[in-house]
C-alpha cells in the first residue's frame, strides 16, 4: 500500500515537471509548480518529515505560488492576453541538464540511505526546541532577513506604483 502511495506521488511530481518543461504558457507552469510542490509535501510525509511537509504547503503552495500568479497578472501586456514564453538554446540546455542529471545519478547510485523508520518522538516540539537552543543564531538571523526582505519588497513595489 505504501509503495502504491509512493508511486502516485512520484508520478504526480514527474507529470508536473513535465508540464513545466513542455508548456509555453507561464500561468500553466505556475499551476504545474503548485502540483509539484504539493506532491513533494506528500513525499516529505512518506519520509517521516511531517513539519517540513506542512511548512512546504503553507509557504510554498500558499505563498510562493500566489506571489508568482500575481507576478504573471501584473506583467501581462493586455487583459485577456496569455503570457507566452519563448524558448531558446533548447538543445544546449538539454545537453547541460542531462549531463548534470546523469552525473548526480552516478554519484547517488553509490550513496547509502537507510530506510525510513517511523520515530515516535514529537517532531514539532523537538524542532521548536532546537530552533531556540542549537540554532538560535540562525533563527534570529533568518527572522531579521525575512523582515528586511518583506519591507524591501513592499518598498520596491510601492516605488513602482508611485511614479
Amino acid at each position: 500500500m505504501i509503495q502504491f502511495i509512493q508511486i502516485v506521488f512520484f508520478l504526480l511530481t514527474l507529470i508536473g515537471v513535465g508540464v513545466i518543461v513542455s508548456t509555453k504558457n507561464v500561468i500553466h507552469s505556475v499551476y504545474a509548480l503548485a502540483l509539484v510542490l504539493v506532491s513533494l509535501a506528500g513525499i516529505y510525509v512518506l519520509l517521516n518529515a511531517e513539519l517540513l511537509a506542512i511548512v512546504q504547503i503553507l509557504l510554498y503552495a500558499g505563498g510562493v505560488v500566489i506571489l508568482l500568479v500575481f507576478g504573471v497578472m501584473m506583467t501581462r501586456r493586455g487583459s485577456g492576453e496569455t503570457l507566452i514564453s519563448e524558448s531558446k538554446n533548447s538543445i544546449l540546455a538539454l545537453i547541460i541538464s542531462l549531463a548534470i542529471f546523469l552525473l548526480l545519478v552516478y554519484l547517488f547510485s553509490n550513496a547509502e540511505v537507510e530506510a525510513v523508520n517511523i520515530s515516535s518522538i514529537d517532531q514539532v516540539k523537538e524542532i521548536g526546541v532546537s530552533f531556540l537552543t542549537d540554532h538560535i543564531v540562525a533563527f534570529e538571523l533568518i527572522a531579521f532577513v525575512l523582515l528586511v526582505a518583506l519591507v524591501g519588497a513592499a518598498y520596491l513595489a510601492k516605488m513602482s506604483s508611485n511614479e
Binding site: I2, Q3, F10, L14, V17, I20, V21, V26, S29, V30, L37, L40, I43, Y44, L47, A49, L52, Q56, L59, Y60, G63, V64, L67, L68, G71, V72, M74, T75, R77, L83, S85, E86, S87, K88, N89, L92, A93, L94, I96, I100, F101, L104, F108, A111, V113, A115, V116, Q123, I127, S130, H135, I142, V145, L146, A149, A153, A154, L156, S160, E163
Partner: protein, 101 residues
C-alpha cells in the same frame, strides 16, 4: 510492507535539479526562470529530508531554506514590477538596458 528503495528519492531529486537547470537556461520569461529556481531549491530540500533520519537537523535546514526562498521570490517579483514599468516586458532578451531614458 515493502517500500521503494530510498535511493529513488535521490534520483527524483537529481531529476528535479536537471529540469530546473533546463528551465533556467532555455526559457525566456522571468517568471519561468523563477519557477526553475524553485525546482532547484526543492531538489535540495528533498535531499535534506531524505538524509535527515535520526536527528532532525535536515528538516531544520530545509525549513530555513524554504524561508529564504520566500524572501527571494518576494524581492524578485518586486524588482520585476519595477523592470516591467520601465521596459513593458518580462522577456529576459529584451531587458538589456538599465534604464529606458
Amino acid at each position: 510492507m515493502s517500500e521503494l528503495y530510498p535511493t529513488y528519492y535521490l534520483y527524483l531529486s537529481a531529476f528535479l535539479f536537471g529540469a530546473g537547470i533546463f528551465i533556467v537556461i532555455s526559457k525566456r520569461n522571468v517568471i519561468f526562470v523563477l519557477v526553475g529556481i524553485e525546482l532547484i531549491l526543492n531538489s535540495a530540500n528533498l535531499l535534506l529530508a531524505t538524509f535527515s533520519k535520526a536527528d532532525l537537523n535536515g528538516q531544520t535546514f530545509a525549513i530555513f531554506s524554504i524561508v529564504l526562498t520566500v524572501c527571494e521570490v518576494a524581492i524578485a517579483l518586486a524588482i520585476l514590477l519595477n523592470v516591467y514599468k520601465t521596459h513593458r516586458s518580462s522577456n529576459l532578451d529584451e531587458l538589456n538596458e538599465l534604464s529606458n531614458e
